[in-house]
């Protein structure tokens, strides 16, 4: 009875705190500028199904993709087990569905056990890829400190989750055998249980089984509530993030309408330069982005979706050749700054200015000017994050609001304005090639 009440309180607490944190993330994402990504719903659903659910883009690197699939499969499918855990926890029953489902129950639990075993193997390999083999993209400079700890924490939690399942089922198997002479017939624990726990007293087994049961469900609650603080939040956001993917060609950069209006005015001989803005016209927005609130909500969702796998950075030509730019760091900086801005608004009200900004305090000009806009990072991302659009928006701010342009580029821009080519050639010479030998 008491345990049922304790369980109920924990259940409500866990879901309540999780929802509160999810709302916080949602509010932060909504600090971004508006863009419309609600068109072409069926195409969007298709992309979400292929890329998020089907993990299509993961498989360009088959080894990590397979290992990831082992954990993903376990995560997606073993959740059915929670239904029984919730019922058992609230009502005090034991294996609520066993009687009713019979052989199918044995199959389902066995299926869960096999998936969990595969996940266990993958988790151990992942831990060694990060800590022993040290795969380059997982140990780069931006991964030091908290990001490294975060990744290891998640993997450790997964280890605990799986260990608890096998402890619970294994101890239960031995007890069941002793009491009825019959095995549950579960795929893993019916072998593993007797192997580990044979000969233990019923009391010890019972305690072990409870430790497994409570350990598992407490870890589920802890894991769930850790997610919004972690890079691991991608397990949820991968779905909306791929749904709201950019459907245009990757080479197409956004058109800045605020600029279009001004250019049209400049080119219109009848325009009155002193005319008052039309009624209801909104304050002209800043050109480009200086801080996270100048970015679009999709850029911000991207930052929360990033799980810091580093496929972008490992394919970035600038990063490969030793430049400061790392697209992954662009995403991590965006998220860190957004969390900071959200926290400030929460503590000091929405007009609070901490004097800091994404550009300058987090991302430097040197990083931005190293980008070749080649779209490799965008192509590589398994959850369709677009670091390039952030880089370009920050460049736009630098160039159009602060006139901070590398000297050689100033020359190039002047040439385009003066003679219609990035080099100093006379426009009248454009067709000379046709008459040269």
């Amino acid at each position: 009875m008491i345990s049922s009440i304790v369980f109920g309180v924990l259940l409500i607490g866990a879901f309540g705190f999780f929802s509160w944190n999810v709302l916080k993330v949602r509010n932060n994402i909504r600090l971004g500028r508006d863009i419309d990504r609600n068109d072409k719903k069926s195409e969007r659903i298709k992309i979400m199904t292929l890329v998020a659910l089907g993990q299509k883009k993961m498989f360009t690197r088959p080894v990590p993709a397979l290992l990831h699939l082992m954990i993903y499969g376990a995560f997606m499918l073993t959740q059915v087990e929670l239904i029984e855990i919730f019922i058992d926890g609230l009502s005090g029953s034991h294996r609520f569905f066993k009687e009713a489902l019979g052989g199918f129950y044995t199959f389902v639990i066995s299926f869960i056990e096999v998936l969990s075993l595969l996940a266990l193997v993958a988790t151990i390999v992942f831990l060694s890829r990060r800590n022993l083999i040290k795969v380059p993209r997982l140990v780069m400079s931006e991964m030091k400190g908290w990001p490294k700890m975060d990744a290891n924490m998640i993997l450790f939690m997964e280890l605990v989750l799986v260990t608890c399942i096998f402890t619970m089922n294994g101890a239960d198997e031995v007890m069941h055998l002793a009491a009825t002479g019959e095995s549950y017939g579960f795929a893993v624990s019916s072998t593993l249980g007797p192997l580990l726990f044979d000969g233990m007293s019923v009391d010890s087994l019972h305690i072990l089984e409870r430790i497994g049961w409570w350990g598992h469900i407490l870890m589920v609650f802890a894991f769930m509530n850790y997610l919004p603080y972690s890079k691991h939040f991608h397990i949820f956001l991968a779905f909306p993030n791929t749904f709201y993917s950019n459907l245009e060609k990757k080479g197409k950069f956004t058109n800045m309408e605020s600029v279009t209006n001004e250019v049209k005015l400049m080119m219109d001989p009848t325009a009155d330069p002193f005319a008052a803005p039309p009624e209801g016209a909104t304050e002209p927005q800043r050109f480009g982005a200086k801080d996270v609130t100048d970015l679009t909500w999709k850029n911000l969702m991207d930052s929360y979706t990033c799980t810091e796998c580093g496929r972008c950075t490992s394919s970035c030509p600038a990063n490969i050749t030793g430049k400061l730019l790392s697209p992954r760091k662009i995403m991590m900086d965006t998220r860190d700054r957004l969390e900071e801005v959200g926290e400030n608004r929460w503590k000091h009200g929405k007009d609070y200015d901490d004097g800091k900004s994404l550009l300058g305090d987090y991302i430097t000009e040197e990083e931005l000017w190293a980008c070749t806009s080649c779209n490799a990072c965008v192509q590589e991302c398994p959850v369709n994050i677009d670091p390039l659009s952030i880089i370009i928006d920050l460049r736009r701010y630098l160039v159009m609001e602060e006139s901070k342009v590398p000297t050689e580029l100033t020359g190039m821009l002047t040439n385009i304005e003066n003679n219609g080519a990035p080099w100093q050639f006379s426009p009248t010479d454009r067709l000379n090639w046709a008459n040269e030998d």
Partner: protein, 262 residues
Amino acid sequence: MSLVVPTMAEKMAKGEVPDILFWVGCSGSFDDRAKKITKALVKILNNCNVDFAVLGAEESCTGDPAKRAGNEFTFQMQAMMNIQVLDGYEVKKIVTACPHCFNTLKNEYPELGGKYEVIHHTQLIQELINQGQLVIKDGGVFKGKKITFHDPCYLGRANDVYEAPRSLIEKLDSELVEMKRCKTKGLCCGAGGAQMFKEAEKGNKEINIERTEEALELQPDIIATGCPFCNTMMTDGVKNFEKEGSVQVLDVAELIATAADL
């Protein structure tokens, strides 16, 4: 054979509207190496009697490097002026040998009012061959040569054109060998995003060296590209390794024009 290069103005004076505008681009107009690509394409167009014209002195930078550098003002000024010119000549279809012009005209002009059908020259040449207007006998001089194709970012990833240039190389009876990083995984030459016009940021290697190294590992006779900027970067890379005697960097249009003996 001398080149026949009519301008839109000349065509208009005769009351004609050509089927397609050849957008030469700044590189194709002014850069000595890129001019050869321009001429190779014109040879192909002339040979196939394609009804085309160029803008000549009326052409101006698409604004691509300005936009990539973050200067949307300069970009849109260029775009709007070019759109006025293009619409003045009632242009419907454009071919260009520069993937940067291609991308900008195709993807970024429509929102500013400039709506045209834009194709890359490798796509046009592919069409001409498929329609039987251009015939390459026995692969020509490139028969048996080892050729690798470097994907220009603004043609490949930016616009998903991977097959047109490769299908042309396959027409040469040569051996097309792929670099490990090809097609969607192609590595940039280092020139995009306005990098062509500035020194690279501090690092431990130039991007074009990294890319050329990868190409040279295949021991090709020819590194083929479809972009004047990639061409410059790869040519510089080959010179860096002192391989210019044994490895040529050529545009696909040059390969085809030479193979067809034009």
